[in-house]
Amino acid sequence: MNKKILTISNLHKHYGRIKAIDGIDLVVHSGEVLGILGPNGSGKTTTLGVVLSVIKPTAGSFKWFEASPSPSSLCKVGAILERPLFYPYLDAVDNLKIIADIRKVSYEAIDEVLVRVELLDRKHSKFRTFSLGMKQRLAIASALLGNPEVLILDEPTNGLDPQGIAEIRTLIQKISQQGTTIILASHLLDEVQKICSHVVVLNKGIKIYEGRVKDLIIDNLTVEVQSNDMPFLEALLTNWEGSSSIEKKETFYLVKLHKGYNTEQLNHYIFSSGHTLNHLASGKNNLEQHFLELLTQPK
């Protein structure tokens, strides 16, 4: 097993009667790209705020790099929480110099991170003149300063246009390929599915799922199928040992597969039964469906 980067034990954060976090346990290992998934208000940002020591927990504890947390351990963690926070009247370089001074990193690293987020040509522009996408990229640059072992990104694509979203996602993938552990909080399933290797689902301050992203998908494969002869298709599907449930939608059937069965097998079965499909779609909404199921399950 890889070394433990972050360990959270039985964490609670209550604001009066509201339980923002209600007993979360979590271990993040080196090299993982962990997605923290949950609707707004599920405790994602609060959890990250606690491990970044800006929020005091009500109860429970956490460890960075298997040691008690200290400001110096945070120097090895690059993080953006909610939105980019910089001095608007300073330019990109001066803002990063403050970060470099806090982390005791050489100023020479600044140009390097600006290149990585493609902001070098705007290094002397004031932060307040930046577009939202540029602000977000500068935040990632600041998080990368000093080559941290872990990167924490809270809703990094929030409010960005599609091109900005794509740029940030590519950037995150590049960073993770270089071996940096990443913790990504998001309410977008698609984002977690595309970027993350592991996922934790939070709801109302409680962890309701934890595992690999691909297990989550394989566990609950659902497939949309449609043919010219829908009653015949339904009969075929009902007889197939791979289908666990069949749901009739407006123009297609939504088939949930048993564990171990996949879309290819379904297609093969239909075709070898002498029938053809005119619509076959899988994978796209699986995580979403599963996610919604998790959220509605009473726990």
């Binding site: 800006v54 929480l81 300073l90």
Partner: protein
């Protein structure tokens, strides 16, 4: 420690509003410190025409009394420095950069220390203006200069440093409590100009002498001038140990309030 200085000074030195307000302060201080004597003498000479007894000309700028005179005058302008403090500390909440500072790895203690550096810096600038003006005016207005004459009353400068630093500690504590510049400036002004004045009017002397801002201001009393001697009024020409100790205690309390707020809050 050096990196903490760099962090704090990068936040303020590259800000135009900082230089604008500090420039106005320095300019205003110099004008007032240099111009007061001729202003008073003009008023006095006007009054002299109707006066049965001649009122002597004022001399504010002779060593060693210049220290007392200048530090007393300068005391009225420390409110501008307080506003600079309020503005820049509430910036950290306004932009939420205090949160980013902590996330990046600045300890809460060190964040507090950078702000204390900022207060010391402003107090130091204020003292430097007085020193510069005192040296220039003192040497040109004193007939018979000796080293001891220059030094003998310079402890007023130390008292002035304490007065300004205590005052700025008060404005910093309020900034940490109220977080928004506008609110803090209003509360600060109401307390300074209204609340303490009412309290000192209503309260018995035994209690009113403990009012913090009154105590800071009392450190340096009104200088005795020839005019006042004429009327037989005699103000205190020394620094009272009671006021000094009380100011020190208040400063420690105010800094502790700021520190505890930084230390205990969720950012």
């Amino acid at each position: 420690m050096k990196h903490l200085l760099r962090i704090e000074f990068r936040k303020v030195f590259k800000n135009n509003i900082f230089w604008l307000t500090l420039g106005l302060y320095v300019f205003g201080m110099i004008i007032i410190l240099i111009g007061t004597e001729s202003f008073i003498n003009k008023v006095v000479s006007n009054a002299n025409r109707n006066s049965p007894i001649p009122i002597p000309d004022f001399s504010l700028y002779a060593f060693p009394y210049i220290w007392h005179n200048l530090t007393y005058l300068a005391g009225f302008f420390k409110i501008i420095l307080a506003f600079i403090v309020i503005l820049f500390i509430s910036n950290e909440f306004n932009y939420n950069t205090i949160r980013q500072n902590i996330i990046t790895g600045l300890s809460r203690e060190n964040f507090f220390i950078t702000k204390v550096f900022f207060l010391i810096f402003l107090t130091f600038v204020s003292c430097m203006i007085i020193i510069a003006v005192a040296i220039i005016l003192g040497f040109t207005h004193t007939d018979d200069i000796s080293i001891s004459m220059i030094i003998i009353k310079s402890h007023f400068l130390a008292a002035y440093f304490l007065e300004v630093f205590a005052f700025l500690s008060f404005s910093m504590a309020l900034s940490f409590i109220f977080k928004r510049a506008g609110v803090t400036i209003i509360v600060f002004s109401i307390y300074l100009f209204i609340v303490e004045n009412i309290l000192s009017f209503k309260l018995n002397e035994d209690y009113s002498k403990y009012l913090p801002l009154k105590t800071f201001g009392r450190l340096i009393d009104i200088p005795n001038t020839s005019l006042m001697k004429l009327f037989g009024v005699n103000f205190r020409e020394y620094i009272d140990p009671f006021d000094t100790v009380l100011t020190l205690i208040y400063t420690i309390i105010l800094l502790t309030i700021s520190y505890l707020i930084i230390k205990k809050s969720n950012w």
